[in-house]
């Protein structure tokens, strides 16, 4: 019976040790590993030109990014990528209550990348309580914009009036978003 126990212990250890890049969490690095980004070219990185896109919002309007950013009087645009989960709701509620009011000259978009149609995105928006919130919900039914901005749940992108990416990272507590928006020209 002892050999059975030992075999199972070995199996457990092999199972644990054989898994991917586990060491990234067991021994986290604090090194800044960000690759250098070439500014002025189209891409999702900071200082790059924001990839243009056209999506339909949940009210049926066509939204083209390049048209939005060039709107007179608009200092910038925010894209928040949502899958309508608790974390997404936490971020969006915070953004709605603490950020949007302070930046009336910034346009806020939620990019829904999990709904398969504009109608489904509209239903999700309503059931999550964001109808009339001031956040324009875009239906990214093919996950095109998700891919363009290398985004996932909670990714928050700030694009200035010149169409340049100023932020592209997780929302966290919203402090970085407020700081970036405050620094917009």
């Amino acid at each position: 019976m002892g050999s059975v126990k030992n075999s199972l212990l070995v199996l457990l250890l092999v199972l644990i040790a054989g898994c991917g890049d586990m060491m990234d969490d067991l021994a986290p690095s604090s090194s800044d590993m960000r690759p250098s980004v070439q500014c002025g070219v189209t891409g999702p990185g900071i200082c790059q030109n924001a990839p243009d896109f056209t999506l339909i919002d949940t009210l049926g309007n066509t939204v083209m990014l390049s048209s939005v950013v060039s709107t007179t009087g608009l200092r910038g645009s925010v894209l928040y990528f949502t899958m309508w989960c608790p974390v997404c709701d936490m971020h969006m509620s915070h953004m709605r209550a603490n950020v949007m009011l302070a930046f009336p000259d910034v346009r806020f978009f939620a990019v829904d990348y999990v709904s398969g149609s504009v109608a489904d995105a509209r239903s999700a928006e309503i059931s999550a309580g964001y109808d009339g919130s001031g956040i324009t919900v875009l239906a990214d039914t093919q996950q095109t914009v998700l891919g363009l901005y290398q985004a996932t749940m909670g990714t928050t992108v700030v694009i200035d009036a010149n169409g340049v990416v100023r932020m592209n990272e997780d929302y966290k507590d919203g402090a970085k978003l407020s700081a970036v928006l405050s620094a917009l020209p």
């Binding site: 199972l15 969490d25 709701d89 709904s115 749940m153």
Partner: protein
């Protein structure tokens, strides 16, 4: 100083989770799987335990505790295979390890994702501080003394976390943080009834983050909030025939709260969560008690106020264990 205070709290509040519904806190909205505790009964030197969880998501509580549905057309599930081994290394001391393997199965109206990977591993150390004086008859006050087991647990971030080389939140099977728990389990049996109270306090260790979902970011320090858990259960043992086989039914109530996350020492006041749940389980032990099987159900009540900022789920578990004398 905050970490030190957390450690002291953990040491003071030691808690346990002998197959209790506290085991049911593994899931999160986007994966995240964790192990649980395994406690050896008296007179056993070792035990192997294998269980399978099926967790079904049914919306979530928002920050105000209001029930919020998942997007229309979505079907979110997580499956976990938990493999554990417990070993007694001294008369009153035992240790155990529990490793989950997690499958995430998420379907939305416009997208589906099936991913899998190992979850976060739990290593436990237990000390049987006080024995139950009498499990059969109360003759005097001393017979009311319950068994008390205290312990510590280390959650190791062996799962796939948002800080690994992943591209999507759907890939996640772990939280990416170490956590040190202090646990205490108080149990009193007066056959055929038994009651238990399980308390736990856990402190996550702060870590550096330089990558989120596969993309390197400006490094920062992150610490998840301290975790408080409690579970109260009442069980009834039904002896089958005269051979000693027994069937145990248990009902329970569980509470979990996690405090706010901090980023570079600054607290995010919106990030904590809370969940309450009720549960039921049925366990069968054979005559020699070396083998036992169990089924359990952990049910998050889908009503406002039973949680904050957390998914509402049902968890169904099927488990089997074998003890070595």
């Amino acid at each position: 100083m905050h970490v030190f205070r957390s450690m002291i709290m953990a040491a003071l509040f030691m808690g346990a989770a002998l197959f209790s519904p506290l085991a049911a806190w593994a899931g999160s909205c986007c994966g995240g799987g964790g192990g649980t505790a395994l406690i050896l009964p008296s007179f056993y030197n070792g035990m192997i335990d294998v269980s399978f969880d099926f967790e079904k998501y049914r919306g979530f509580w928002n920050q105000d505790g209001k029930v919020t549905p998942d997007p229309p057309g979505s079907d979110l599930r997580q499956y976990r295979l938990n493999v554990g081994y417990a070993h007694r290394f001294a008369k009153r001391w035992q240790t155990s390890i529990m490793v989950p393997y997690v499958w995430n199965d998420n379907v939305y109206s416009g997208f589906s994702s099936q991913t899998h990977g190992i979850g976060d591993t739990t290593i436990n150390l237990w000390y049987e501080a006080i024995d139950d004086k009498s499990a059969w008859k109360i003759r005097d006050l001393a017979d009311m003394i319950p068994s008390v087991t205290i312990g510590a647990a280390l959650l190791m971030p062996t799962g796939i976390s948002p800080y690994d080389n992943v591209t999507s939140s759907f890939d996640i099977t772990g939280r990416g943080f170490y956590r040190l728990d202090g646990n205490m389990l108080i149990t009193k049996t007066v056959n055929p009834w038994s009651a238990s109270l399980s308390l736990g306090y856990g402190a996550y260790l702060e870590r550096s983050v330089n990558r989120e979902y596969g993309r390197y970011v400006e490094p920062y320090q992150k610490k998840l909030g301290d975790r408080t858990s409690a579970s109260l259960s009442l069980g009834y043992v039904y002896f089958i025939g005269t051979g000693g086989d027994k069937l145990t039914g248990t009902g329970s109530y569980s509470y979990l709260r996690e405090a706010d996350t901090t980023y570079d020492g600054t607290r995010d006041p919106n990030s904590g969560f809370r969940k309450e749940a009720v549960g039921a389980s049925l366990a069968y032990a054979s005559t020699d008690h070396d083998w036992s099987t169990r089924i359990s159900w952990s049910h998050a009540v889908r009503q406002d106020g039973w949680g904050d900022n957390f998914p509402i789920t049902d968890i169904y578990t099927l488990g089997v264990s074998y003890g070595f004398r």
